[in-house]
């Protein structure tokens, strides 16, 4: 045995006397900022909830009962229902570290399919609606296959699908709208999501109820089912998820299909909201949904955030839009403030991430 060999052999002998106390896991960081950071890390939708509460209070003080009436507050819900539903779809995709630029186009194409199948071919309304929902799911399936199996970046896939679906929509519909009166007379089921009912002074529509129910169901699925955990795992680290036994391709395809289906429901809700079937509606839905998701504290890098946050994000945008309009401010102020919120939200996301460092 050489000298060096001996040197290398007994370095662990001192471990017998090692201070066992070191092994105790001490992690009591008491400063308020740290505790807040940790709370946000566990529950990232608190930030948008606080912002939402503050903005309601501020506009309530400025505008009084004009803003704080049940009618005005539920009007906000009606105005954000489409963006809220689309934002739920967008959240799912963004949680997997993807992005879906084709949500608006899928929504419009699905609504056009529902309308044209009914009026052009005379297909019974429920079957037309089913076809519209299938159309949305199919678009999502194509996105999902291209992202997971062909392994193209989601941004590129959905950028392409956005153009393809939108062009298909214009070609198929021949750029013709279906008038609200015709739908009301012949196929009222298409406007089902616009059905209004009131509780006190508050006015709700089926679309608003659907949006809230959808968010609650998705929150449950993401938190309490294996599928939900897999969505987060894929967004967090796809390779790690694969090695620990997640069928990542299936998860991705299911997410994009579900996103397409939700967009198709949004298309149905849009017919209820605007009354008619218009191939030119909803052009900004993709940007608006991404805005809601980002303000809602969902990380664009995937794996972090909750879908409840996206709903709060959509509501924040709705509160700002209505509040500033009631104040008589230039609409550009809304965009300016939303821009500030987006940057602020991403800055907070970066700060929350540092909890692990």
């Amino acid at each position: 045995m050489s000298k060096t060999d001996l040197k290398g052999q007994d370095y662990e002998s001192v471990l017998a006397n090692a201070n066992q106390a070191v092994a105790v896991f001490q992690h009591r960081r008491s400063s308020f900022a740290h505790r807040l950071q940790h709370a946000l890390h566990v529950n990232p939708s608190i930030v948008p909830l606080i912002v939402l509460g503050l903005s309601i209070v501020v506009f309530g003080v400025l505008l009084g009962s004009k803003f704080l009436s049940p009618f005005a507050l539920t009007l906000i819900l009606q105005q954000v229902q489409i963006v809220g539903i689309i934002a739920a779809a967008q959240s799912l995709v963004i949680l997997t570290a993807g992005i879906d630029l084709s949500v608006g186009a899928i929504m419009v194409l699905s609504s056009v399919v529902m309308g044209q199948f009914t009026f052009r071919y005379g297909i019974p309304v429920p079957i037309s609606i089913l076809c519209g929902l299938l159309c949305g799911t199919l678009c999502g399936f194509i996105n999902g296959v291209l992202v997971s199996r062909v392994k193209l970046p989601p941004f590129i896939v959905t950028l392409g699908m956005w153009q393809i679906v939108l062009a298909t929509n214009f070609l198929y519909s021949a750029n013709e709208s279906i008038r609200a009166q015709d739908i009301e007379a012949h196929a009222p089921l298409l406007q089902f999501f616009g059905t209004k009912f009131s509780l006190g002074g508050a006015v709700f529509t089926v679309g608003v109820v659907f949006m809230i129910a959808l968010v609650l169901v998705l929150t449950y699925a993401l938190r309490h089912t294996a599928w939900g955990r897999h969505v987060y795992a894929v967004g967090d680290d796809k390779e790690a998820a694969k090695l620990s036994g997640v069928k990542t391709d299936r998860v991705l395809i299911s997410v994009y299909m579900l996103s397409g289906l939700i967009c198709a429901f949004a298309g149905w809700a849009m017919i209820g909201r605007i009354g008619s079937v218009s191939p030119t509606a909803g052009q900004l839905a993709n940007i608006e949904s991404i805005t809601a998701v980002v303000i809602g504290g969902i990380s664009l890098f995937g794996g972090r955030g909750s879908i409840l946050g996206a709903l709060f994000g959509a509501l924040i945008v709705g509160v700002f839009t209505l509040g500033l309009r009631l104040l008589g401010a230039d609409a550009q102020w809304t965009y300016l403030l939303i821009g500030v919120l987006i940057i602020g939200a991403v800055a907070v996301d970066q700060w929350i991430r540092k909890v692990s460092v």
Partner: protein, 261 residues
């Protein structure tokens, strides 16, 4: 001496990456209840061998046998379903999810009754209880909260969780790829004890390591890998570390007949 059939064996494995041959008609045998160390230079093909027997890579030629039966893994999931658990060097964990969620990734427990069957609800308390038991069984209960995210753990603790996951679910074979590479002296010692504990439960282990003292301490046999194939298999009591390094690097002629079994 009559040896039992190997629990995991490979014959004539070939794997090429373009013009690079990573495995060149390589053989491999793991016997029940043993710790087999796999050592070799960088680029010798250790990782490719491990990936081939854990399903992460599909070999172009050759056969793999589990308990004497021919098997073909097409994914790590396949191997897992056959009771082969692997701890990869990069640990394969989702940082934002909790320890319990990570341990059960891909094999979650559902609540009994309608809540599990119809609503697919996860049995969180059950999963957390199991995870806590497994971690304390392996002496890893320095972790306060089973619900804390994996990214809040230190490197050694993450390694511990990864090993505990494999030990908890690996019913036939556990493969550890460089389990002590990122660890301090004390944590390495903990992992070595873990290896012996798992072995004492009768589960064979494949250990890939560059750390000769660790290899010589826990291994029953040492598989020396060189230039894409098995050069020889030695027993640690027959040779010292210098010999092993000499064989592995080609500085010394290998004992051709030292196919220790």
């Amino acid at each position: 001496m009559q040896m039992p059939t190997p629990i995991l064996a490979a014959k004539n494995l070939v794997k090429r990456y373009g013009r690079v041959t990573a495995l060149d008609h390589c053989d491999f045998e793991l016997y029940p209840g043993e710790v087999l160390a796999v050592i070799g230079d960088n680029g010798a093909g250790k990782s490719s061998l491990i990936k081939a027997i854990s399903g992460a890579v599909i070999p172009e030629e050759g056969e793999i046998y589990l308990e004497g039966e021919r098997i073909n893994f097409s994914s790590p999931l396949d191997a897992r379903e056959h009771g082969i658990e692997t701890v990869y060097q990069q640990l394969a964990m989702s940082p934002a999810l909790s320890i319990a969620d990570n341990m059960f990734m891909g094999r979650e427990l559902l609540k009994p009754g309608i809540r599990g069957k119809l609503f697919r609800q996860l049995d969180r308390p059950g999963m957390e209880k199991f995870a806590r038991e497994k971690l304390s069984e392996l002496g890893l209960m320095t972790i306060q909260n089973i619900r804390q995210a994996v990214e809040t753990l230190s490197g050694g603790q993450r390694q511990g969780v990864a090993v505990a996951r494999a030990a908890a679910f690996g019913s036939k074979v556990i493969i550890l790829d460089e389990p002590t590479a990122a660890l301090g002296v004390k944590e390495s010692r903990r992992v070595l004890e873990l290896i012996l504990e798992v072995k004492s439960r009768g589960i064979p282990i494949v250990l890939i390591s560059h750390n000769m003292p660790h290899v010589f301490e826990v291994a029953d046999r040492i598989h020396i890998h060189r230039l894409g194939k098995r050069l020889c298999v030695i027993r640690p009591e027959d040779y010292n570390m210098n010999d092993a390094v000499a064989f592995m690097t080609g500085a010394k002629e290998s004992p051709q007949l030292a196919q220790a079994v």
